[in-house]
């Protein structure tokens, strides 16, 4: 483990708790997590977060998880030639496995183009058929449902899109944007419809008299609130938040993050929070998954991942976060080059082209998921015992 020790010294410490207040805060947070029924960070949990590593074995439903994803794959065909036959595949999501507990938030981070958004959309069955793997939502395989069953399932799983400027129809008034799906699914009676929409808007910090206005009359933060209201109007259990704050200003960002947290407590929602802003993810998530080129390279409790990042990619990613302190000198690990093409991913470990600790083995053999400490999984040959 000599190599591990060497690299562990680099970044982990920069984020470690240093002051007594922070330590106290962490203890509190840990107790809070225990209450939520989560594994304590770095503690000895008994319930396995991951199912067995054999990719072909079907998932067994565990009621504590609202969402179980195993070995999920989504390839997009590349068409070319005269007959536009398939000449290749973009492996956008290439074997993602994780489980998500009820009422918690999982953060999904990674560079752009690593398949975060596609993962979110594939889970919701929004981008056609999957290529492989399983998605169990409340024990039900999402891709086995008939179109009719899928319709009713849609009310339980919703998505908040990235850009509030392009995801709202400019031709519909706000009340109609929020209420359209409610009416479509007959969730409330006609007589109560207006009162219901008012209440949803009120919950999301919108004034009910804004109902007749159009999206262009609102600022970015307000629009994102409309997107959130639209998703929550259906009483979902699970919401995919696809970069909900990256298009917003810092001060507005804080409002939206606070709103999301508030609503989560109120309605015990489960979030899959996709973002490339690591500080936001750390703030909002209970567990974090780090993605690289369609794979989950590291997965675990937020504290574990941020205090003790193990995968070389996670370390590099974290060391690149700018810290608002002019005297902070970071041991920055600058990754050379950019992310390889997912249409032609490198052999073996996909990260080996940019990894400092690359060995011959990394170039040939793809690593498998390994539990390094309880609840902390990493996909890297460096951690083979």
């Amino acid at each position: 483990m000599g190599v591990n020790k060497g690299i562990a010294d680099g970044v982990g410490r920069a984020h470690g708790a240093s002051t007594p207040e922070e330590l106290k805060y962490q203890t509190e947070k840990r107790e809070e997590r225990l209450k939520k029924g989560l594994q304590p960070a770095g503690g000895t949990g008994t319930a396995p977060v991951m199912a067995s590593s054999d990719p072909n074995e079907p998932l067994v439903y565990d009621p504590q998880y609202i969402l179980m994803v195993k070995n999920l794959k989504k390839y997009f065909p590349i068409k070319g030639g005269m007959m536009s036959h398939v000449v290749g595949q973009v492996k956008a999501v290439d074997g993602v496995t994780f489980n998500l507990k009820r009422g918690t938030t999982m953060g999904l981070v990674g560079e752009s183009g690593c398949g975060k958004t596609t993962t979110g959309r594939t889970i919701l069955r929004l981008s056609g058929e999957k290529t492989g793997g399983q998605v169990l939502f409340n024990g039900q395989e999402v891709y086995d449902l008939s179109p009719k069953e899928m319709r009713s399932m849609r009310t339980k799983m919703q998505i908040i899109f990235q850009d509030p400027f392009s995801s709202l129809s400019p031709r519909l008034p706000v009340g109609e944007i929020i209420g359209e799906a409610v009416r479509e699914h007959n969730l409330v009676q006609k007589s109560e419809f207006n009162a219901y929409i008012d209440q949803v808007m009120d919950n999301c910090g919108l004034q009910p008299f804004h109902k007749d206005r159009y999206p262009h009359e609102f600022s970015g933060g307000q629009r994102q609130r409309i997107c959130i209201a639209r998703a929550l109007a259906l009483n979902p259990e699970f919401v995919v938040c696809d970069e909900p704050v990256s298009a917003l200003d810092v001060s507005i960002q804080a409002q939206i993050i606070n709103l999301l947290k508030e609503l989560q407590e109120k309605y015990s929602l489960t979030y899959l929070f996709i973002s490339h802003d690591l500080s936001v993810v750390e703030h909002i998530s209970d567990t974090v998954g780090v993605m690289y080129l369609g794979n989950l390279v590291e997965y675990g409790a937020t504290e574990d991942i941020f205090r003790n990042p193990l995968h070389p990619y996670t370390k590099a990613l974290f060391s690149a976060i700018p810290i608002p302190d002019p005297k902070a000198k970071m041991n920055r690990i600058v990754l050379e080059g950019s992310i390889p093409s997912p249409a032609n991913p490198p052999s073996g470990c996909k990260f080996h082209t940019r990894c400092k600790y690359c060995t011959e083995r990394c170039k040939k053999e793809a690593p498998v998921q390994r539990e390094v400490e309880p609840g902390h999984y990493v996909v890297c040959h460096l951690f083979d015992k």
């Binding site: 560079e111 750390e282 703030h283 950019s338």
Partner: protein, 384 residues
């Protein structure tokens, strides 16, 4: 029947009246600008401090729109010293970009006009007031003395020209006298290598869509550096990029600044990036500077409530809080600015003096200046 008119409603007649008035103002300004053979004495000036590369002095840039006059930049004064990086922070719409566009004379004319103030640019042996420069002279300054890295690398490159042609164009236009095509190409390749593009010969032949976001931003940086400018304006150069790529781009900018000894005016809303890059920081709010100082001043002793709020509302890795602070309310309407402190309605630290006129600048130390009534007493004590 009187209709219930929403706030900010403007009748067509009113709007026509405003636009007529605006046209009078703007056409008069355009006329003075478009005169032929403007004598050099009109825009020659002297720097207040020869160590500064640029001095913004009481700059007012207004936009005369049909809904009213938008005071985008309303009395901005700060300096960019030679060889230093000045970070400009603020929310969107606070006038950061308009300040930099004023320096480049790239404002959307005729609506956008510099109505008052000076921008003094140090050219080494002389200094000029950019606000009064005629277009023809300005053309010599852009690229050679001042150049700009734009926000979105996706949209600031022309999709129908090859990368090489686009960079070549900059060189031959601004610095190309007596240079053959081969020499220009050699310089382009050299620039592409300078910004860390390994396959420079290959990239020279490529189109922008063949490059990733980070690579495109490098090309844009290479274009900005083509003629060794004295001042580089970086307008949110990393906002559209990933953290890992952002780190690479910031590294390039830092090392290049030392290599060609130029100043950088760095515009961003990311406080983390500012802390890493800037020597001096200017915090803008609603067209005015609310606080300025060295990076240490701003980050260790933020004084203005807006700066404090901005710092508190950003989650920081490793520092955990239960609830993020969010500044209440929103930015006032830029057409009808209040006559008291612009931040008063959102401020949680108001004192009795706040309902008075807009506070003037108070010095907290040699370098640290803030516009807030809370520090009036301190300044008086210090002065007495």
């Amino acid at each position: 029947m009187a209709k219930n008119k929403p706030e900010g409603y403007l009748s067509a007649r009113e709007s026509r009246r405003i636009s007529k008035e605006n046209r009078k103002i703007t056409s008069a300004m355009e006329k003075t600008r478009k005169r032929k053979n403007v004598p050099e004495s009109e825009y020659l000036t002297t720097m207040h401090d020869p160590n500064n590369a640029v001095e913004f002095d009481n700059l007012h840039t207004y936009f005369f729109t049909d809904a009213g006059t938008v005071k985008s930049v309303d009395g901005v004064t700060f300096e960019v010293p030679i060889g230093k990086t000045v970070g400009v922070v603020g929310e969107s719409g606070c006038g950061k970009s308009v300040t930099s566009l004023s320096l480049m004379q790239l404002l959307q004319r005729p609506q956008g006009q510099i109505v008052e103030g000076e921008i003094r640019l140090n050219l080494g042996d002389k200094a000029v007031n950019v606000a009064k420069m005629p277009d023809k002279e300005m053309q010599h300054l852009r690229g050679n003395y001042v150049s700009m890295i734009f926000q979105e690398p996706m949209t600031s490159l022309n999709p129908v020209f090859r990368i090489g042609d686009q960079v070549d164009e900059v060189i031959s236009l601004h610095n190309g006298e007596g240079k053959s095509k081969e020499e220009v190409k050699a310089r382009t390749i050299e620039l592409l290598e300078l910004v860390g593009i390994a396959n420079s010969e290959g990239v020279y032949q490529m189109f922008p869509h063949e490059l990733s976001g980070g690579m495109r931003q490098r090309v844009v940086i290479a274009m900005a550096l083509a003629c060794n400018p004295k001042i580089i304006i970086a307008d949110e150069p990393t906002t559209a990029l990933d953290v890992t790529i952002q780190a690479q781009v910031l590294d390039i900018l830092r090392s290049l600044k030392d290599k060609i000894n130029s100043s950088i005016m760095f515009i961003t809303h990311d406080l983390g990036v500012i802390a890493e890059m800037a020597d001096y920081v200017v915090v803008m709010y609603a067209g005015r500077i609310v606080e300025k100082g060295t990076a240490e001043d701003i980050f260790y002793h933020p004084a203005h409530p807006y700066t404090i709020g901005l710092m508190a509302s950003k989650p920081v890795v490793g520092k955990q809080v239960d609830k993020l602070y969010s500044i209440p309310g929103k930015v006032p309407n830029p057409i009808n600015m209040p006559d008291y402190c612009y931040f008063k309605d959102r401020c949680e630290m108001c004192v009795s003096g706040c309902s008075g006129a807009y506070p003037c600048e108070v010095s907290l130390s040699e370098t640290h200046k803030v516009s807030c009534y809370r520090y009036y007493d301190e300044a008086k004590k210090g002065g007495a």
